[in-house]
């Protein structure tokens, strides 16, 4: 695998923004020559479709098409923002460039920042934090993101501030044979509370999205974070979402992945402070020839930390899913608890799901459990519902929604639950009409 000549240092430089950001991109682009591109021979890419990704055919979205960093032209957040309901702030991001931002002025006065990374006032402060999370778990695609991110979404909550309503980030990625590099940085200051709802989508174009989301949850802060991926069927999405949690910090993160041709999410939590708690849940549903690929990490680096993971997916048609999860409990993370569950429904014969749980435990006083299942809908459940007079189609719908129910019940915001459940039902019904 190699990248086209259009991924050049000149292009990286030409994307503009403050000098620290330009320098940062130029540095990263300089290291692309020596980068080792992934292959499915590596464990972390096993079962993936990385071999099918032809990076040569893509070029980064150009500076001309992105427009100037401060040219904010998009008005609203579309249906997603409407469904998300009342919000305290919003960012609309087109191909990685923030094209609209809004914020509750009262919260802005308290120091809340909801703005573009390239245009925010507190640039120097941002420069220090940006990359501090993602670089710990860098791979070829995070370097590529560093080299070509035109800016990105910044949410920074000052210590002690409670943000009453969610902050919404709406991404739109398009451009045939183009690659975009969204970057989101959320910093929840000490003892702050905030909910962030982020949505990625694209039309039916052959587009590569290389997305990085950094979540910094400072001591005793609470961050609730939902990411919804609803890309078009030919979009490649390769995403890293990584959180660093301080002492007594709480993260409730959820991912709903429905779209994309090949869509991958590395979801990682580093529990770095005593008493930190991390929850990672996900719903995924693959149809047609999609592949949805998840690699998770629950990394316990401090004592009395607790992590809980529940990923549930369904596949139909010839769709595939991959779940590979690691619980790591480091030597000094005594008295920690970690739980990991992955369950998969395989709804049709041609579909398939891989589930690979892993443990790496170096402390000796911990509680840890994991479980994983892959299988069709239970015949007994089907029969039971049908014996009440429910048609096979309706029975399947009820069982699948019931299967996902505990995850939907744990989404950080309930405002989107109904429409996301509807999307799952649409997938089931769409298969029947094919």
């Amino acid at each position: 695998m190699s990248i086209s000549k259009s991924f050049s240092t000149d292009v990286a430089r030409g994307l503009g923004g403050p000098s620290w950001l330009v320098d940062r991109r130029v540095r990263a682009s300089g290291s692309l020559d020596s980068i080792t591109w992934p292959t499915s021979a590596e464990e972390i890419w096993r079962y993936s479709r990385i071999e099918d990704l032809d990076l040569e055919k893509y070029r980064p979205v150009s500076a001309e098409r992105l427009g100037a960093a401060d040219n904010e032209s998009a008005p609203g957040g579309g249906p997603f923002a409407r469904e998300a309901g009342e919000h305290s702030g919003m960012l609309v991001v087109h191909d990685g460039r923030v094209v609209h931002h809004e914020i509750d002025p009262d919260l802005e006065a308290k120091g809340l920042r909801v703005c573009g990374l390239a245009t925010c006032d507190d640039s120097d402060e941002i420069a220090n934090v940006l990359g501090s999370v993602s670089s710990v778990s860098a791979d070829a695609f995070t370097v590529l993101n560093d080299a070509f991110m035109p800016g990105g979404a910044l949410i920074s909550v000052p210590g002690g501030v409670v943000v009453p309503h969610p902050i919404v980030i709406v991404h739109w990625c398009d451009g045939d044979l183009e690659a975009s590099f969204p970057h989101t940085l959320v910093v929840a200051g000490e003892s702050s509370e905030v909910t962030v709802l982020e949505r990625f989508s694209s039309p039916n174009t052959d587009h590569l999205v290389d997305a990085v989301v950094e979540l910094v949850v400072r001591d005793n802060a609470s961050l609730r974070y939902l990411s919804v991926q609803e890309h078009g069927p030919r979009t490649w999405h390769i995403g890293l979402q990584r959180a660093h949690l301080g002492r007594d910090a709480r993260l409730a993160s959820a991912a709903v992945a429905l779209g994309g041709g090949y869509a991958r999410l590395r979801s990682e939590s580093l529990l770095d402070g005593t008493g930190a708690m991390s929850e990672q849940v996900a719903v995924y549903f693959g149809d047609s020839d999609q592949m949805l690929d998840f690699r998770t990490l629950q990394d316990h680096a401090a004592p009395h930390t607790r992590s809980e993971l529940l990923f549930k997916g369904a596949v139909e048609d010839t769709a595939k899913s991959v779940y590979s999860g690691m619980i790591r409990i480091r030597e000094d993370a005594q008295k920690s608890q970690a739980y990991q569950t992955n369950r998969n429904l395989v709804l049709t014969d041609g579909a398939g799901a891989e589930s690979i749980p892993n443990l790496e435990i170096l402390a000796n006083d911990v509680k840890c459990a994991h479980g994983s299942t892959v299988g069709p809908i239970d015949d007994d459940q089907r029969y039971y519902l049908e014996s009440r007079g429910i048609s096979p189609e309706e029975a399947e719908r009820l069982i699948v929604l019931g299967f996902f129910d505990d995850v939907f019940g744990r989404l950080p915001s309930s405002s989107l639950t109904n429409s996301l459940q509807r999307s799952v039902v649409d997938k089931i019904e769409h298969r029947r009409t094919r």
């Binding site: 994991h370 299988g375 069709p376 014996s387 009440r388 429910i390 929604l401």
Partner: protein, 289 residues
């Protein structure tokens, strides 16, 4: 007035014929008890009537008011008026009672107005606590709760005929009484016809049958009134078989006929640790196991 008519029913599971010419006729408002020892084919009878696909009917007929049910899929048999209260009600996580009942009623074209209050009223009658209505149906319920929940569904769906497959097994006497009272009331108020399939005579002291049938080796070998149940109580299945000159009480299932379900791969922590080369007595062994 409706009639459930089962005649000359033969059915196999795998290579074994379990039902060997079973006939019974039930009218609205009647309570028929079918009693049989282990292996006599009681569960096969209930699932065959309901159309479970693991069972193959080789001949015979099952009709409601003259309409043939054999050949119809399970859900259509239900909408034609048959209800099976299962011996082992299935846990359906994430599907609460209201969702299940609402879907069941809609498929019958019955309105779901005031459904919540209808469910609440039935729950009161059957002493079902609210929490069991909010959770997924049967999800980690006790045996008694499951049977109350089966009866609750029966009451809300108002079928013409109910097949109660060992509704008396796995529940204490209070639950048995609640369930029996409710079923009995339905026979009077809604003219429900009942086929109570059971192993134990205990049910018949609560749910008083009009007709008692003794089932052995896949067919009805004796029919009568409640006095037949008394005889069973006194002399057991062997005694009744001896009086009737019936040699075969139960059917030995062939090994190959066992129904297997593929439940997919389930890895326990122990398996994972083993695969990873860890010791079996690992201190981090599954605390939930």
């Amino acid at each position: 007035m409706s009639v459930l008519s089962v005649s000359g029913l033969h059915a196999t599971v795998g290579d074994t014929e379990i039902l060997r010419g079973l006939s019974v006729e039930v009218r609205s408002g009647e309570v028929h008890a079918i009693m049989g020892p282990n292996g006599s084919g009681k569960s096969t009878l209930s699932h065959t009537l309901m159309g479970r696909t693991d069972y193959t009917v080789t001949s015979g007929s099952v009709q409601v008011d003259g309409e043939e049910l054999l050949g119809l899929p399970t859900f259509e048999r239900a909408t034609k008026g048959l209800f099976l209260a299962m011996q082992y009600p299935v846990e359906v996580p994430g599907v609460p009672m209201a969702a299940l009942i609402s879907a069941s009623l809609r498929s019958r074209g019955v309105d779901t107005v005031d459904l919540d209050s209808r469910i609440a009223t039935e729950a009161d009658r059957l002493h079902v606590r609210d929490e069991f209505l909010l959770r997924g149906v049967n999800d980690e319920f006790s045996g008694g709760e499951k049977k109350r929940i089966e009866t609750l569904q029966l009451a809300l769906l108002r079928p013409k005929f109910a097949i109660l497959d060992e509704i008396d097994s796995g529940l204490d006497v209070d639950a048995l009484r609640d369930v029996s009272r409710r079923v009995e009331a339905m026979t009077k108020e809604q003219n429900l016809g009942v086929v109570a399939i059971t192993h134990y005579a205990r049910l018949l002291t609560e749910l008083r049958p009009d007709h008692v049938h003794v089932m052995m080796a896949g067919r009805i070998v004796a029919s009568g009134g409640p006095e037949l149940a008394d005889e069973l109580e006194a002399s057991g299945y062997e005694g009744v078989a001896a009086r009737l000159g019936v040699a075969e009480l139960a059917i030995e299932k062939q090994e190959s006929s066992k129904v297997a379900f593929d439940r997919g791969k389930t890895e326990s922590l122990a398996d994972v640790l083993k695969a990873a080369g860890s010791k079996a007595d690992d201190p981090f062994a599954d605390p939930l196991a």
